[in-house]
Amino acid sequence: MVLDCQHVWDQISNYIEGEVPEELRAAIDEHLAHCRHCAAVLDSTRNILYLIADDRTFELPAGYSARLHARLQQEIAAG
């Protein structure tokens, strides 16, 4: 199986998820070994996903949890 770059980009998300069949994964790996551009796209996408999953990227507003539970307590107390 020989893939062009577009095929690799179409599968990049499933590839990151580990959800491509064995034969296709091998073909993608083969392509990545020879295509610097696709390898860079894969690395950059993975790296961006790693950064956005970090807890520091989206922090809760200060006091959010306290306000939420205070409001909830009012509701619980009201029955």
């Binding site: 499933n14 860079a40 790296n47 959010y64």
Partner: protein, 223 residues
């Protein structure tokens, strides 16, 4: 799911089931404990749609109150966390529709999934931006604004799957779309983000600006 993740998920499910049963039989105070592990996810789900901290917090509070009120309707075939997050999504969507009506705007049709061929950013190289860079407010803002710039249907799926790290099945259940649709939108969302962010991260580093401290040890060229 790995075996270890499965054990964690099973543990959460049985913890939740125990707490739900007790809340429903009168120990309502335990609802605080029930929602505590999910309160950030509830906020982020609302934020993905509303894109405003105050509106997202209001929607998150309302979603939690609705979950308490309707807890008796929760059916254990879905996860409690997924059910709670789907309430937050519905609450946020309702508020967004209301806000649009108030602004006398036509209610937008949601962006359609398109099948156009997508081309990622053309970059020659990529060097790792280490996670300690997130200590810098500029990087956090760059990531947030890139996500904010995605159309709503892509932003929702990316926030739940890639920021909150929900699995595909739960993301699909929370959003009320098929797993296939989640995967298609996820591909588009990730490539859009790559296209926006990779050149920005690269160019900032190449100028020795924001990421100047991450220069290659070998002193090689950047982009």
């Amino acid at each position: 799911m790995t075996a270890e993740a499965q054990v964690v998920a099973d543990g959460a499910a049985s913890r939740d089931a125990g707490l739900i049963a007790r809340v429903l039989t009168g120990e309502r105070e335990l609802f605080h404990e029930l929602i505590r592990p999910y309160e950030k996810s509830v906020y982020l789900a609302a934020y993905a749609i509303l894109q405003n901290q105050q509106d997202a917090e209001d929607a998150a509070q309302e979603a939690v109150l609705k979950a308490l009120k309707n807890l008796g309707n929760f059916r254990a075939e879905s996860k409690f966390s997924t059910w709670l997050i789907s309430i937050a999504i519905n609450e946020a969507r309702a508020r967004l529709r209301h806000a649009r009506v108030l602004k006398f705007e036509l209610v937008d049709q949601p962006a359609k999934d398109d099948d156009d061929t997508f081309v990622p950013a053309l970059i020659r190289d990529w060097r790792e931006v280490p996670s300690q860079a997130l200590e810098r407010k500029e990087l956090r803002e760059l990531l947030q604004s890139a996500i904010a710039g995605l159309p709503e249907i892509y932003r929702e799926v990316l926030l739940l799957r890639d920021v909150e790290e929900m699995n595909i099945a739960d993301t699909s259940a929370a959003l009320g779309v098929s797993e296939g649709v989640v995967k298609t939108r996820l591909l588009r969302a990730r490539l859009m983000l790559q296209k926006v962010l990779a050149p920005q991260l690269g160019s900032k580093r190449s100028k020795g600006g924001l990421f100047g401290l991450f220069r290659s040890k070998a002193g090689g060229s950047w982009f």
